[in-house]
Amino acid sequence: MSASTSDIVLRGHVGIGPSVRGVVLAASDDFSARYDLDRDRGVVSRRAHKLYGESYVGKILVLNAAKGGVASAWMLRDMVLAGKAPLALLLNNANPVMAQGAAFADLPFIDRFDVDVTQALRSGDTVFVDPALGLVRIEARGD
């Protein structure tokens, strides 16, 4: 990892769930648990998705907007209980389904950042996510 970047803080709307620290998996694509994921294997399964084939399990998953239907609201909790969930989810824009799913799963979730979060964070970054304050602190940049 490169030099410390602990002074960089991204500010979003107050979120949902507990604070966590982890490694980022980021892309500018959108997100739906039903449309994009192989939830059994814990990998992105949509061929056209920039993270196709990547494992999101235990990662701070950073994507653009919530899309699709109601499925994610049940699925996020199911994924958490099965140990096949991201550690946290950061989006530029949520929809109600994703917020309802995160609240049901108690999955850390923040959106509405003061920057494009998919550009501000890169895969491999280590970040601290604090939903109660709506903050993400970059602790180390990935390679």
Binding site: I16, S45, K67, V70, Q100, F104
Partner: protein, 415 residues
């Protein structure tokens, strides 16, 4: 969020554990979206396809059912659509999975809570019907955009657990499309042509949905033709939701909050962006596949009407589905039975097709079905099915019902 006396009592547990859980959960979601308070609701739609709920979802509902009755009293009427599925067809599609038992478990758990389980498609308003301006708590995205746009009722996406919470509290957080200012149009579109089939209407919804890509955007669309049929509007609407997470739309001169452009925008409307026939053709062609071997045709989402089943039967008359292709036509149980009474079901089955009732194709383990049959290329008249099944490893091709059925007979994707 501001709470009234009843809501405070619910939160304190005075009205039972289910209401306490529901209100606490709804408060978390409401605070996320800066809701100031709650709005009472009378009607709830709970989305309950078995794959989406997962084992953990069913367990959660059972735990609520295990509470003493006085701790889980409903405060609204709730219906869950798509109860059950077509066991006979599913044994062919995925013999290794006992969906019959799984589905019965879910229906039993919901029934114990007092949720009405129905075979109908909720947004056809045969089960519940809000009126203009009424707040409601609907779950399925096609149902929500239908109620907001076409009926003028007020609703956000209230996904599975969220609608369940509303069932026990009789209210939902007041944000998003419960507020008049958020229902006004934000973007204007003009169709430069009249779509000829529901797949083209679906493509219009997909194109606009992709461009906007935000729950908070509200397109207003001038369809430049006589009032479109409700099925056409339904395909357009559910693809706005599928491709853009959009929950509210206007059709100028058609939907109740858009008698004209300025009313839709609550002021002077901007110049509309054109949606051309070429854009729709480009969208449909982008899925490729012409001339390739066709494994499965899934005609669903929304489930088919009787007129669509008759169209399929007519197209199949005197012909037979190719032996290497499976043709599945999904319809509500009531429609399937009605089709049998007039011989339409028999005509489709004689030609090698299947009418399937219950949960839609994409909602019944479509990924496992693909893996079991080693399927690859799928055709559908539903642009939404194409969107979802692309994530399940299929290579979909949306096309008209006529093109889908003729391709099923040929065993390959016809241009």
């Amino acid at each position: 969020m501001k709470l009234d006396a009843l809501e405070k009592a619910m939160l304190d547990g005075a009205h039972g554990e289910a209401a306490r859980w529901g209100l606490e959960y709804q408060q978390r979601v409401g605070a996320f979206f800066d809701a100031e308070d709650f709005v009472p609701v009378r009607l709830i739609h709970i989305s309950t396809d078995r794959e989406t709920m997962g084992d953990s979802g069913v367990s959660f509902i059972r735990e609520l059912g295990d509470l003493p009755p006085e701790s889980r009293r409903p405060r609204a009427f709730a219906a869950a659509d798509f109860r059950g599925f077509d066991d006979e067809t599913f044994r062919f599609l995925l013999p290794g999975r006992d969906l019959a038992t799984q589905s019965a478990e879910a229906a039993e758990a919901l029934g114990r809570l007092g949720v009405s389980t129905a075979h109908a498609y909720i947004n056809d308003h045969s089960v519940t019907a809000p009126v203009f301006g009424e707040a409601c708590g609907y779950s399925g995205t096609p149902s929500v955009i239908y109620m907001n746009g076409l009926v003028g009722a007020r609703c956000n996406f209230e996904a599975g657990p969220s609608s369940l919470a509303a069932f026990f509290t009789g209210r939902v957080p007041r944000y998003g499309f419960h507020l008049s200012e958020n229902r006004r149009a934000t973007h204007a579109y003009q169709l430069a042509f009249t779509p000829e089939s529901v797949v083209e209407w679906g493509a219009v919804g997909a194109i606009i949905g992709r461009r906007l890509n935000s729950y908070w955007s509200v397109p207003a669309i001038d369809c430049s033709s006589a009032t479109p049929p409700v099925l056409s509007l339904n395909h357009m609407a559910l693809n706005l939701a599928s491709y853009g997470s959009i929950a509210m739309f206007h059709v100028i001169g058609v939907t109740p909050e858009a008698p004209d452009w300025d009313a839709a925008f609550g002021g002077k409307a901007p110049s509309p962006e054109l949606i051309t026939r070429e854009a729709v053709e480009t969208f449909l062609e982008s899925w490729g596949g012409a001339g390739e071997k066709l494994d499965v045709v899934a005609l669903s989402t929304p489930q088919l009407s009787m007129t669509e089943l008759i169209e399929i039967a007519d197209l199949l008359d005197g012909r037979h589905v190719h032996p290497d292709t499976t043709l599945l036509a999904y319809a509500p149980l009531e429609i399937k039975e009605a089709a049998e009474r007039i011989g339409v079901k028999q005509r489709i089955e004689k030609a090698g097709g299947r009418i399937v009732h219950g949960h839609d194709f994409f909602a019944t383990y479509a990924k496992e079905i693909r893996e079991h049959h080693n399927w690859d290329r799928l055709m559908t008249h539903s642009v939404k099915v194409a969107n979802i099944c692309a994530g399940y490893g299929y290579r979909p091709r949306p096309a008209s019902i006529e093109q889908c059925v003729k391709s099923a007979i040929a065993g390959k994707v016809l241009p």
